[in-house]
């Protein structure tokens, strides 16, 4: 029942948003739907519901974890969206970079798609059937495409098109992976079994290993495109830099996780079939490659939103790297999912504030933030330190668990590469951010810009949570994280 409601509330809310004419009413409905979703999610964290539809929709520990992150992020970003929509309710808008005038997409479409986006991601976290999981993943692409094209101009259109085509083709390959998985699961008599995670794990002993390997590769490439693993990440910087900041925050903090979750599902099956060495090797290679790619582009990045996008590529690499290492690093990876989502959402929301005041995405043209927008400046500065893994924030703890796992499990070279790349990224990010925060503003007369409460409160909440996670791990969180890590063959 609660599972059905978790999906239906945002879904029906989204449908209503298309019909409601009054902006205020629609915004209220939007926030109410987000809040109800969050409360239901909280109840799911306390007592886990039983599965529905013959076990097709079940919330296990992994699903609960990802659902929690998604729901929490949506509510916080929803608060920010209220102020954002008010700010954007001026027609026509002028472009920050090129100065031309453009219209926004109707607010009803934007709100409706946001709620549908939440519904589709909720579906992904609950799916235990690989076919339905695919349907949910493709749905997330389709309902989020209009969100990227909120500002109707040629750059966002280009980003939307690339996002649609690259992700759709990528996910089509994952569908092929589904077929190969079904072939692998045909037992000797040629009888098909339902493609449920649980059933396949039980049957793993008699699956055809070569076909399962092929299936895993297709899943990794297909959903890896959506997750932004290098070298399949090409849509990601464009989509993240051109979409409204709220959407970038959700894409990075929630959507990429969902793609990661889909890869974890096939990994569960492969691990049960004793293909761990094969999968882990691929995970470590893809992980380090993504981090290296990200480092390369962060070091010479002039656009701060693109820099954040590449940082997401880096963190996705860290997530799969942790799974590949195994043991305690899997726990670290699960914990890092939360930390990365909180940190990246916070930074993208703040980037939106910077863009609104300075009207440029080039970090070279942003100076003296601490004078002009002190709260945003201070939070952004803290956020950058948090995301690049400085104590006392949660990101530090999870990265530390992962790298410690790499060394204790004898992956010395992988651990060393990991640390070297992190150092390079740290230097790249911090030099940029220091230039942006410090210095004299170019326009000295302007003085302080106003910072409305809802523009700084949501990122501040995220920042506080990151700090708490860095110094204190609540028992209920530890239980879920460890249970999830154990389901993936690791944990403490």
């Amino acid at each position: 029942m609660r599972l059905a409601l978790l999906f239906l509330i945002p879904f029906l809310g989204g449908a209503c948003a298309f019909i409601i004419r009054n902006n205020g009413l629609r915004r209220g409905m939007f926030l109410a739907a987000c809040f109800m979703h969050l409360s239901l999610t909280a109840s799911v964290w306390i007592v886990r519901p039983v599965g529905i539809f013959n076990g097709w929709l079940v919330l296990d520990a992994i699903g609960t974890l990802f659902l929690g992150v998604t729901s929490l992020l949506f509510f916080i970003a929803g608060l920010y969206a209220l102020e954002y929509l008010k700010r954007e309710d001026v027609h026509p808008q002028s472009d920050e970079e090129e100065g031309f005038m453009f219209m926004n997409a109707p607010e009803a479409v934007f709100t409706g798609c946001l709620l549908m986006f939440l519904a589709s991601m909720t579906l992904v976290t609950m799916c235990q059937h690989f076919g339905l999981l695919w349907v949910g993943m493709e749905l997330t692409t389709l309902v989020s495409a209009p969100l990227i094209y909120f500002h109707r101009h040629h750059r966002s259109l280009e980003a939307t098109w690339k996002y649609l085509v690259i992700c759709s083709v990528g996910i089509a390959l994952a569908l092929l992976g589904n077929i190969f998985l079904a072939i692998a699961s045909l037992d000797a008599g040629g009888k098909a079994v339902p493609l449920l995670v649980r059933t396949l794990i039980d049957q793993a002993g008699i699956m055809s290993l070569p076909w399962l390997k092929v299936a895993f590769i297709f899943f990794l490439v297909g959903y890896g495109t959506k997750m932004g693993l290098a070298p399949l990440h090409t849509w990601l910087p464009d989509a993240h830099s051109e979409s409204p900041s709220v959407v970038s925050a959700l894409l990075s903090g929630a959507l990429l996780n969902c793609a990661f979750l889909s890869i974890l599902r096939i990994y569960q099956v492969c691990a049960a079939a004793r293909l761990e060495p094969f999968c882990d090797g691929l995970f470590i290679i893809f992980g380090l490659l993504s981090m290296a790619f990200a480092a390369l582009f962060i070091l010479r990045q002039a656009d701060y939103k693109r820099m954040l996008a590449y940082s997401s590529v880096e963190h996705m690499g860290i997530l799969v790297f942790g799974i590949g290492i195994g043991g305690q690093a899997v726990f670290g990876s699960m914990f890092h999912v939360i930390n990365h989502s909180l940190a990246k959402a916070m930074l993208f929301l703040l980037a939106g504030n910077v863009l609104a005041v300075f009207r440029t995405k080039l970090s070279g043209q942003v100076k003296g933030m601490i004078r002009v927008i002190p709260v945003t400046g201070a939070l952004l500065f803290t956020g950058f330190f948090a995301v690049s893994g400085m104590p006392p924030f949660g990101v530090f703890v999870s990265k530390f668990i992962i790298v410690n796992g790499a060394f204790t499990r004898g992956r010395i070279w992988a651990g060393a590469c990991f640390l070297a790349i992190l150092a390079a990224i740290f230097i790249g990010m911090v030099t940029t951010i220091l230039r942006m925060v410090q210095g004299e503003p170019e326009d000295k007369e302007s003085g302080r810009s106003p910072e409305p409460f809802l523009r700084v409160f949501p990122p501040a909440v995220l920042c506080a949570m990151l700090f708490i996670l860095g110094v204190y791990m609540p028992a209920f969180l530890y239980r879920v994280l460890n249970e999830a890590a154990r389901a993936l063959g690791g944990g403490f």
Partner: protein
């Protein structure tokens, strides 16, 4: 019924190659529609003994969607968007056909080395499905216009669908309908995007979509 299966499969291959040489977008849309219908008929001719209400309904949905709704939607975009009607490609038509033939040959070669866990009705079906996937990917990467990328995506989907048929992978109906729904929404959203692209840029060349890059 085996002859019928082969005829349908040959129709799919011919559609692949015709798509590679057609110079008019409207013709390409029709070719992909015919291919979609052929793919939709395939389960009916493959397992005539198992035809039930469920199968008929599903086949009917996919034929109507791929054969009627998609071509109508895409032709509408072509008309209203005032889009140029000729296919533009990075690779010339004659080279495209050579690539198409190579793809098809490659698919046959791969199939011969594949250890098959199931017996198949027609030896043609697996190579045809792989060839269709390869050609779909080739069309997406080698053509300039946004419209042809959508057509390539549809060919890719047809190929994957036939692959599922080849290996007798029966997904539950809910999943099959979900996949169809997703493809429908994908084409719909892409159609809207093409419409906007044509208005914004006065044409639908994806080459113009190259402003976003790292300096």
């Amino acid at each position: 019924m085996k002859e019928w299966v082969d005829i349908v499969l040959i129709a799919i291959v011919v559609a692949n190659l015709m798509l590679l040489v057609s110079s008019r977008l409207a013709a390409c849309i029709r070719i992909v529609a015919v291919q979609g219908i052929a793919a939709g008929i395939l389960p009916l001719v493959m397992h005539p003994s198992e035809i039930g209400l469920e199968m008929l309904a599903f086949s009917g949905c996919s034929i109507i969607l791929k054969g009627v709704v998609f071509p109508w939607l895409l032709s509408r975009v072509l008309r209203e968007g005032n889009v140029r009607r000729e296919v533009e490609a990075f690779v010339s038509f004659s080279s495209s056909v050579i690539v198409g033939v190579i793809c098809t040959g490659l698919a046959f070669w791969i199939t011969r080395r594949l250890p098959l866990p199931v017996t198949v009705l027609s030896p043609l079906i697996i190579p045809v499905s792989f060839a269709t996937i390869f050609i779909g990917l080739f069309v997406i990467t080698s053509r300039v216009q946004a419209m042809t990328q959508v057509l390539g995506y549809l060919v890719l989907e047809n190929g994957i669908y036939v692959t599922g048929m080849a290996f007798l992978v029966q997904q539950p109906v809910v999943v099959e309908l979900g996949i169809l729904l997703d493809i429908f929404v994908a084409v719909f959203v892409m159609g809207i995007a093409i419409f906007h692209i044509s208005r914004e840029f006065d044409h639908i060349d994806t080459q113009q979509l190259s402003k976003l890059r790292d300096n």
